[in-house]
């Protein structure tokens, strides 16, 4: 009984390998479902494209309100313990007087969970407010439904009392 148990433990201990080897569940283009999501204003649309290439995961998002658009791209190497991601702007909640800090960087730790069904990010960044810099941590879970058709992004910001939940449906 020891060998199967060791094998199982080895598989659970290396979810990254599992995700690399199996179909990347999160990969694809995702369309925002406003009715099942936290209210998105000031944006109305949120398109998300996730690509997985070995240990590299890229998240591209486009936020839009009419002609006003903002797009960014985050490339993460899950083979590394942490990735420094340059950020020029903080579009997540434009109702708040909070802006990207002077270093314009966030440090992201990423991991696959549950055999590649969940991508969990822990992001540390500094936001500037009227009173100065403020360290913020954001836990982001990108979670695919059992049938692979729905993606739920749950974000817990250390400064926010409520979670932010964005639901997407797969377009391809």
């Amino acid at each position: 009984m020891k060998r199967p148990l060791l094998l199982l433990l080895a598989l659970l201990a290396s979810p990254l390998t599992r995700a690399e080897e199996s179909r990347p569940l999160l990969a694809g283009a995702w369309k925002f479902d406003a009715a099942r999501s936290t209210e998105l204003s000031p944006w109305k649309n949120y398109d998300l494209v996730i690509t997985v290439d070995g240990s590299l995961v890229t998240l591209e998002r486009k936020l839009a309100w009419g002609r006003r658009e903002y797009a960014d791209r985050m490339a993460l190497d899950l083979g590394q313990p942490e990735t420094a991601v340059p950020i020029a702007y903080w579009p997540d909640n434009r109702h708040l007087g909070a802006y990207v800090g002077d270093n314009q960087t966030k440090r992201v730790r990423a991991a696959w969970l549950d055999a590649g069904r969940i991508l969990r990010l822990s992001s540390d960044l500094v936001l500037e407010t009227q009173q100065g810099p403020r360290a913020v941590n954001i836990l982001s879970d990108y979670k695919v439904s059992a049938n692979g058709a729905q993606l739920t992004l749950t974000e817990l910001r250390s400064t926010r009392n409520r979670p932010v939940v964005h639901v997407f449906t797969r377009t391809k």
């Binding site: 909070a98 009227q130 403020r134």
Partner: protein, 588 residues
């Protein structure tokens, strides 16, 4: 304490002793004045002073001694489609502009769902406070209206229902030729009332782009038009048009277009620039940009580049009527100051919140339930002090003790300070200062969307522009800045410069807005924390009060003047101006 305003206002013009100013440019008027009276007395020194004055002056509409004892109301339907009731509405608007030239005679009663929602309350106010007894015609009853007022037109101009822009050109012709605006099917009605055809635009513009259409109008009519008022009859595009400001434009013989300020339309932009350049310095641009062509940011930036003043509401109704009516003799503008001008307050270690609404009083929530429940600041359209006095009197008399008025938007009209050439800034702001004194206003609100908006880019001011405000407004309690949030902060002597830290979106649910404010409180841990929130247009005050009552943190909601006094006492905010590295987006 500054002394409150006098009751019968005049604009900051020096030529207002002349009566009917709508046909002659101020320069020409003042030459007449010089030749007949003042010229020999004051000579060259007077002319030098006059030249300086004209940099900011435009003639006010002529005022009657008192509101008319009787006037006619024509109710308008809710249909503003070009293939619906716009033809009869256009006829009535042009008739209103012509009939009201001598004295206020016609008041159009817009439907209750009209964006500027004060039409009905103002009608009742004019009766109650100004003694106007209204005689009511049937809805859209052009026949009855013409029976009373057709004599004020010399004839009619026919617009082409196949070419939307021809209606806008027809309003120009209406003003300069005293012509009723009719569509083909309304010709018999006009002729029934003895009017003859003066111009016919049918077929004239077939297949032409707008820049050619308006160039045609420019070549034929611009020289006859006002240099003090120019109308951009934009707003809704396509099948709908809501030309509520057209009566005033016709009355003033304004040139009308809906030209684009979008670089994607270079021919339109070139003509727009030519027109702006021909208008008198610091003159008025009425109306609003076309939703189908350019953006608010592009349009307002361009107006500012020429140092002109925008009164930006294309559907603002009945100004040809109200512009002539003086304030009642017993009225003076008084604000609800909660602190003395020279008071020194000390902030406690708590969270202070102030709320402001700036989307033009009358298109927000003034008439909705909840006003007066919490302290609230309202931005006043200051040019109404001379352009639309009864409307401002209505708001001032209707205020609750919790309603506090502030000046804006950025100056004497809606303008973006970064877009105004530095050499034009002092004269414009002098005009703003004078109106603030008249209107008993002590706070200046600033907004600048020339390099961004609440989504992208920045809405901040560089130090040089902040310096200009501090220099030009030595007597204000302080400045507030933004529309969405912004990050320009300062404190000089006792005058803080505070940007909005929160924007309450119309669609933002109470629980999310509550979480937003709580997050801001987390993000700003020092106390006192000064949280200034901008409340968008149709958010009700009840909603704002509910949000504030839902907070898990105790906050003190204070009037804006007290907020600024407190902010002057404890600078927990960092001085910041726009930086060269800040994102820029020119509102494409």
């Amino acid at each position: 304490m500054s002394s409150p305003a006098q009751s019968n206002l005049r604009p900051p013009a020096k030529c207002h002793v002349l009566r009917d100013t709508s046909r002659v440019t101020p320069l020409r008027q003042c030459h007449v004045l010089r030749d007949t009276f003042f010229g020999r007395i004051f000579g060259a020194a007077w002319l030098a002073g006059l030249a300086a004055t004209l940099a900011v002056a435009q003639p006010a509409p002529r005022k009657v001694d008192r509101a008319p004892a009787a006037a006619t109301i024509v109710p308008l339907s809710e249909n503003w489609r070009l293939d619906g009731d716009v033809p009869v509405h256009a006829l009535l608007l042009s008739l209103q502009g012509l009939a009201n030239r001598g004295t206020p005679r016609v008041y159009l009663e817009y439907p209750k769902n009209w964006q500027w929602e004060i039409v009905h309350p103002l009608r009742d106010f004019l009766t109650r406070r100004h003694g106007v007894k209204f005689d009511r015609l049937g809805t859209d009853d052009a026949d009855a209206a013409l029976a009373r007022f057709a004599r004020h037109a010399r004839g009619y101009v026919v617009w082409d229902r196949a070419v939307r822009s021809s209606l806008i050109v027809a309003f120009t012709i209406s003003g300069v030729e005293d012509a009723l605006v009719v569509s083909e099917n309304l010709i018999p009605l006009a002729e029934k009332h003895g009017l003859k055809k003066l111009a016919d635009l049918r077929g004239t513009f077939a297949g032409q782009p707008d820049h050619e259409i308006y160039q045609w109008a420019y070549d034929r009519y611009f020289e006859k038009c006002s240099r003090d008022y120019y109308v951009i009859l934009g707003g809704e595009a396509g099948a709908v048009m809501q030309p509520g400001i057209a009566d005033f434009g016709v009355m003033q013989r304004a040139f009308f277009t809906d030209l684009s300020a979008n670089p994607k339309h270079p021919e339109e932009l070139a003509l727009e620039k030519k027109i702006f350049g021909r208008q008198n310095p610091a003159s008025i641009v009425l109306g609003w940009h076309s939703y189908g062509k350019d953006t608010e940011g592009q349009h307002t930036t361009l107006v500012g580049n020429f140092g002109l003043k925008m009164e930006g509401l294309h559907n603002l109704p009945n100004v040809s009527f109200t512009c002539q009516i003086p304030l009642t003799p017993d009225f003076k503008f008084t604000n609800n100051h909660s602190v003395a001008r020279d008071a020194r307050l000390t902030a406690e270690k708590k969270i202070y919140v102030a709320a402001a609404a700036t989307d033009s009083m009358g298109i927000g929530t003034w008439t909705k339930p909840g006003r007066g429940k919490i302290p609230y600041a309202w931005q006043v359209l200051m040019n109404w002090s001379w352009m639309n006095p009864p409307a401002l009197q209505f708001f001032y008399e209707d205020k609750t003790p919790n309603d506090y008025f502030i000046g804006g938007l950025s100056g004497p009209g809606y303008m973006y300070p970064k877009s105004i050439p530095a050499e034009k800034f002092p004269a414009l702001m002098k005009s703003a200062r004078e109106m603030m004194a008249v209107l008993d206003l002590r706070v200046m609100e600033i907004m600048d969307y020339s390099e961004g908006n609440r989504h992208v880019g920045n809405t901040d001011l560089p130090k040089a522009v902040v310096d200009r405000y501090y220099e030009q407004f030595p007597d204000v309690l302080g400045f507030i800045n933004g529309y969405g949030t912004a990050r320009t902060f300062d404190l000089r002597d006792t005058r803080p410069f505070i940007s909005y830290d929160y924007y309450l979106d119309v669609g933002r649910p109470v629980d999310e807005a509550t979480a937003d404010l709580e997050e801001l409180i987390q993000l700003n841990p020092a106390r006192p924390y000064f949280l200034l929130m901008h409340v968008r247009e149709s958010n009700t005050i009840e909603k704002v009060a509910t949000i504030l009552n839902s907070l898990s943190e105790p906050v003190e909601v204070v009037p804006l003047d007290k907020f600024l006094k407190l902010a002057a006492s404890a600078k927990t905010y960092r001085t910041r101006y726009q930086l060269p590295s800040d994102p820029v987006n020119r509102n494409p």
